[in-house]
């Protein structure tokens, strides 16, 4: 197999770069988790905390996908497959949150509270 040698050399240096990216990302993710833990106990405005938590989570979510799951290094088609599912899921969640409203609940019928 004449090809393996040259490709494996290229692979190795590519793998080294990815290795460093992974370590860096792991450290960043650990730090973020710590920040989140501290943040909820701080006496700051609730909406701000909520927005920050959501942003941090989104960052963690997308960075694991991009680096650990390789999407950045792979073909676009895979990103499309995943993003479509994500878009449909998010759209549905958002729509449902708007539609389901306390105003429609018949609290008389609920014996639990």
């Amino acid at each position: 197999m004449p090809d393996t040698l040259s490709t494996s050399n290229a692979d190795h240096s590519g793998e080294e770069q990815k290795y460093h990216a992974f370590i860096n990302l792991a450290l960043v993710l650990a730090a973020i988790t710590g920040i989140e833990l501290v943040l909820v106990y701080l006496p700051i405005n609730g909406t701000f905390i909520f927005a920050t938590l959501v942003s941090l989570s989104l960052f963690k979510f997308f960075s694991v996908i991009a680096w650990f799951m390789h999407l950045l290094y792979d073909k676009l088609i895979l990103t499309l497959a995943f993003v479509t599912g994500l878009a449909i899921a998010s759209g549905t969640v958002v729509a449902l949150m708007f539609i389901m409203d306390r105003g429609f609940v018949d609290f008389e019928a609920i014996s639990a509270f």
């Binding site: 479509t84 599912g85 449909i88 899921a89 549905t92 539609i99 609920i110 639990a112």
Partner: protein
């Protein structure tokens, strides 16, 4: 490159080394089996799998049809007592569930399976063993769902009474409607019928999901050289879109069914009102699946029509790119309209308006397709062979279903039509007038390729006339029945509302429709017994599957074709020299064929104890929890052994001059 594409040839010489080999597990692979049963149980050949799906689909079409005929017989006169109210509920529930999940979906799967690899110039799908798994999981799901009839019979005979969680309930067959609205489906109100429905649908869902992912991978990755995406036959495009719809829509119902099961088995509060559960959430989750599901049902039909019309007009499809794009838009928008099934639930002004507008929007790409189909016919040299008659019928009948659909999209009008016979008229026009006519068209078109025999006689004309007459006589009056107020799902009605004559006409129509299906079955039997050899390309068609023998060899193409254009076969036959199909020179190591395997069958077999165990546990039968767990164990074991045995494979060497 000669024109020998359409000449029959002798079968491939098989290597004398073609003996079964051992897998990585150390067990013999079931390749080259002499036993027909073992061959078909372990096959990974997409063509055989397609035939099995098709046979089961046609069987369940008849079962569902029988359920419908009993319904119509019950309704032929007011205050009839042919069946009890409970039995009537079970009949319409099973009719809907059977037709959607056990007839149309597997019929579509049959077409996908048989045609897609051939149409893209491949030898098989991306994951042949998963393909087999999907089929047998489907069989398991069908078994679990219909086992309920057996339980009901036992109950009627007095041999079995429900105890434990569903003590006192007598409905063993699902009777809560094919859409299973909460809170009727809770344990206090329905018996194990609901559990059979839940487990049946879950298993069928897994079958559909695995097949869909398989087809997406196949269409994206396994195309022959030169088969660019925009050269694909429209049917293959529709398969891709439908598969994507399945992948993204089924999880919603999987969760909804799971939540319902938890409510029934573990007493959770997802839909139980007293604990705060909101039954409306079931409706949302169900229709988030349910609406894409109806596009999953109809888009393949549109794909079939998009193949048949050009072939019998001897013209390319008018506006190929737009037709493909419209299909994609319909699929995508299909996720945004689910609450149009819920206009009368009090969603609020904004939501109602939004869903109403989006539903109207879906009519646009659908209309575009219809114009393009008509454009295909226009100026063509039209031949009214059987497939063409049904496809033309599709255009008209589906359009009528579309008109009543648009009427529904206006929420104020829908407020009167909801839950009335108007809705039944709408969806039967799109389902029978649309999906069934297109499917029959597809069967008339492709069965000669699948079975290698040509249709004998002109029975198809009678099938066409009687099915169209039957459809219209049954369902057209239902528009009026709905507008004058007859509600759905009522097992009888009183005289004096003005409904009597309409109902009698509908029932007579139903029997005409049933008779036409009987004639169709007879025509298929005549094909199988008296049909003459069809030859490779009896219709002078346009796409790659017609370049193979009828039926195609196990390996589809002796050498991988290189595709120069859209409608590749047509260009090859009638186009310029540089648009002829050439072939990849694959050297001398022959064609790699995937090995057959028991593991998909074993793994999917586990669904039977899983499903039945849980339902019987709900019915109070002892030790059924262990049966359920054993089902899980079998599935896990099957899957693990499957992974370890490896794909295997063997080589075949076709003759030089073969396709």
């Amino acid at each position: 490159m000669s024109s020998s594409l359409t000449e029959p040839t002798a079968p491939a010489t098989h290597d004398h080394a073609l003996k079964p080999e051992k897998s990585n597990l150390g067990l013999m692979r079931p390749d080259h089996s002499k036993s027909v049963i073992i061959d078909w149980l372990t096959t990974v050949d997409h063509k055989k799998i397609g035939i099995m799906y098709g046979a089961m689909a046609l069987f369940f079409l008849l079962v569902g049809g029988l359920e419908a005929l009993i319904i119509r017989a019950q309704l032929i006169v007011p205050e009839n007592d042919l069946v009890s109210a409970e039995r009537y509920n079970q009949l319409f529930t099973m009719h809907g569930t059977t037709m959607i999940f056990l007839a149309i979906m597997p019929l579509n799967a049959a077409f996908f399976n048989f045609l897609v690899p051939l149409q893209i110039g491949a030898r098989d799908v991306a994951f042949p063993r998963i393909n087999s798994f999907s089929l047998w999981a489907f069989v398991a799901g069908a078994l679990v769902l219909n086992f309920s009839w057996l339980m009901q019979a036992f109950s009627e005979l007095g041999w079995f009474t429900a105890s434990g969680p569903t003590a006192g309930m007598t409905d063993f067959v699902p009777g809560m409607g094919w859409f299973g609205y909460a809170p009727l489906t809770e344990r206090q109100f329905t018996g194990v019928g609901t559990d059979f429905w839940i487990m049946g649908l879950q298993i069928l869902g897994i079958a559909s999901l695995s097949a869909a992912m398989n087809f997406i991978a196949t269409i994206i990755n396994m195309r022959a050289p030169g088969m660019k995406m925009m050269r694909l036959p429209v049917f293959t495009w529709m398969t891709l879109i439908v598969s994507l719809l399945i992948v993204f829509a089924f999880p919603a119902i999987t969760i909804a069914l799971g939540q319902l099961m938890f409510d029934r088995v573990f007493d959770t509060s997802f839909f139980q009102v007293a604990q705060g559960g909101q039954p409306i959430l079931w409706q949302h989750l169900f229709w988030i699946f349910g609406h894409p599901e109806v596009y999953i049902l109809v888009l393949p039909a549109m794909g079939i029509v998009s193949e048949v019309l050009p072939t019998f007009s001897k013209k390319p499809l008018f506006g190929y790119s737009i037709v493909v794009f419209s299909g994609a838009v319909i699929g995508f928008l299909g996720f945004a309209v689910w609450s149009h099934h819920m206009f009368t639930t009090g969603l609020g002004k904004v939501a109602t308006a939004a869903f109403s507008l989006l539903t109207m929007a879906i009519a646009v790409p659908t209309g575009v397709k219809i114009f393009n189909w008509i454009g295909t016919l226009w100026g063509g040299r039209v031949r009214f062979d059987a497939p063409m008659i049904f496809s033309v019928g599709f255009i008209w009948m589906f359009m009528m279903g579309g008109f009543s659909g648009i009427m529904h999209s206006a929420a104020p009008a829908d407020a009167q039509q909801q839950d009335s016979y108007f809705v039944i008229a709408h969806f039967h026009y799109v389902a029978i007038g649309g999906i069934l006519l297109a499917s029959i068209s597809g069967l008339y078109f492709w069965l000669p390729k699948i079975l290698g025999k040509m249709w004998a006689g002109k029975l198809s004309t009678w099938v066409a006339i009687l099915s169209t007459v039957g459809l219209n006589v049954t369902f057209f009056p239902m528009h009026f029945l709905g507008l004058i107020g007859m509600p759905r799902r009522t097992h009888t009605y009183l005289s004096g509302f003005g409904w009597d004559s309409y109902n009698m006409v509908c029932s007579i129509g139903a029997f005409i429709l049933g008779f036409s299906i009987l004639l169709f079955v007879i025509d298929i039997i005549l094909l199988m017994t008296k049909g003459k050899p069809a030859g490779n390309d009896p219709w002078d068609a346009r796409t790659l599957e017609w370049a193979t023998t009828s039926p195609p060899r196990s390996y589809n193409f002796a050498r991988t074709p290189i595709i120069p254009a859209r409608d590749a076969l047509w260009e090859h036959k009638h186009g310029a020299e540089n648009r002829k199909i050439t072939f990849v020179d694959e050297g001398s190591h022959g064609i790699h064929m995937p090995s057959q395997s028991w593991m998909p069958f074993v793994a999917s077999f586990g669904f039977i104890p899983l499903g039945l165990g849980l339902c019987l546990m709900q019915a109070g039968v002892a030790y059924m929890g262990y049966v359920t767990i054993s089902g899980l164990v079998i599935i896990t074991l099957g899957a693990t052994l499957w992974a370890i045995e490896g794909p295997g494979g063997y080589h075949i060497h076709p003759k030089e001059d073969e396709i």
